[in-house]
């Protein structure tokens, strides 16, 4: 009996179906879904350090990330469907534009200038959970020559899009404010 079933199973193995349309769930220029899932959950907002580097002034934050920035899926299961496309992250850009100048403290005595570029944003929704990642490049110049460059990357997950993106911006700014190499490059800075 079992041998018959095994034989039938082998014969019917042509019935196997495999869907390959939604491989890995993320766009090719974004991290994999497994990597996004490692993001910590959004927690209570930490107060941002104010004016830690008083010798640097921010010129501007530009957006230089590929679009779309992500996809909305109906759920996290095997039969998930794409129900939307994420195109931009205005909340992140606005939060960075607000918080970054405060952290960098563009005082009158500023002798260095910084430019920030958001080079990657990934925002994916699986049912009630959103996964977000953002990368910001900061380039600092002094008398026309770049003296420091770094990429700051942060990832978070949570249910609310706006809260997630604002928290992500704060996390990036916090990384910059606590970047010891940046402080050294600026000749000690003021912390």
């Amino acid at each position: 009996m079992v041998k018959m079933i095994v034989l039938a199973a082998v014969v019917m193995s042509g019935c196997a179906i495999r869907s390959t349309r939604a491989r890995d769930a993320t766009l090719h220029y974004h991290p994999t879904l497994d990597e996004l899932r490692t993001a910590p959950a959004v927690g209570p907002m930490e107060p941002l350090p104010r004016a830690p580097l008083a010798t640097i002034a921010l010129k501007r934050v530009t957006s230089a990330y590929p679009q779309p920035i992500g996809l909305d899926y109906s759920d996290d299961g095997g039969f998930r469907k794409v129900i939307g496309v994420e195109w931009s992250a205005e909340e992140l850009e606005a939060a960075l534009s607000d918080a970054l100048p405060l952290a960098l403290a563009g005082a009158d005595s500023a002798v260095m200038h910084a430019r920030g570029s958001i080079v990657s944003v990934a925002l994916y929704r699986f049912g009630g959970t959103m996964y977000a990642l953002a990368a910001l490049e900061l380039r600092v110049s002094h008398e026309g020559a770049e003296v420091y460059a770094a990429r700051y990357t942060a990832s978070l997950q949570g249910p609310d899009r706006e809260q997630l993106l604002v928290a992500l911006a704060n996390r990036l700014v916090s990384q910059i404010a606590h970047d010891d190499h940046l402080a050294v490059a600026l000749g000690g800075g003021v912390r």
Binding site: K3, A9, I17, R18, S19, P31, L133, A149
Partner: protein
């Protein structure tokens, strides 16, 4: 003699259980984030996409460990399988239980979507054989949970819970 064989089987199965659990924890990913220094004045490139799950490939080699139980049996299986398109597999295993021993596993009649899979399987051993169906669900990158129901030639049913890890 029988008891020695039983002990050896149990040791082998437990070793496989440990190896699968160890491999599964080894593919732990760290949260993305941090500060990456760049060369001043030089344009930078974004990091490459991370490694995709091995199951994205057409053929994968998988090892697994399962605990099973039913009205008339209880034990553990250690299985190594070569699987095509997530749904058609051929493997060898070792059953650690009363009347256990080596067996052949054939998997077929499968449906796999986004690495979730339903597959039928038949375990063929000299002493006894089982047929059943399994649900395989992704746990993390190369690690999967396998829940199965099966029945032997006498019609005795059993359930099993296991972990699979893709080697390549």
């Amino acid at each position: 003699m029988h008891s020695i064989n039983g002990v050896i089987r149990c040791v082998l199965v437990m070793a496989t259980l440990g190896a699968v659990a160890g491999s599964a924890s080894a593919d732990g990913l760290k949260p993305l984030g941090g500060i990456e220094p760049l060369a001043p004045g030089v344009a930078s490139t974004l990091p490459d996409k991370g490694v995709l799950p091995r199951r994205e490939g057409r053929v994968v080699a998988t090892v697994g460990a399962e605990l099973f139980g039913g009205p008339s049996s209880f034990g553990a299986n250690a299985v190594a399988t070569l699987r095509l398109a997530e749904t058609i597999g051929f493997g060898i295993g070792l059953r650690g239980a009363t009347g256990g021993g080596p067996f052949l596993r054939i998997e077929a009649i499968g449906l796999a979507v986004n690495h979730w899979a339903f597959i039928g399987f038949a375990d063929y051993a000299l002493s006894d054989s089982w047929v059943g169906g399994a649900l395989i669900a992704p746990l993390r990158r190369d690690t999967y949970v396998r829940v199965a129901v099966s029945a032997d030639e006498q019609g005795n049913g059993s359930m099993s819970l296991g972990v699979e890890y893709d080697l390549w």
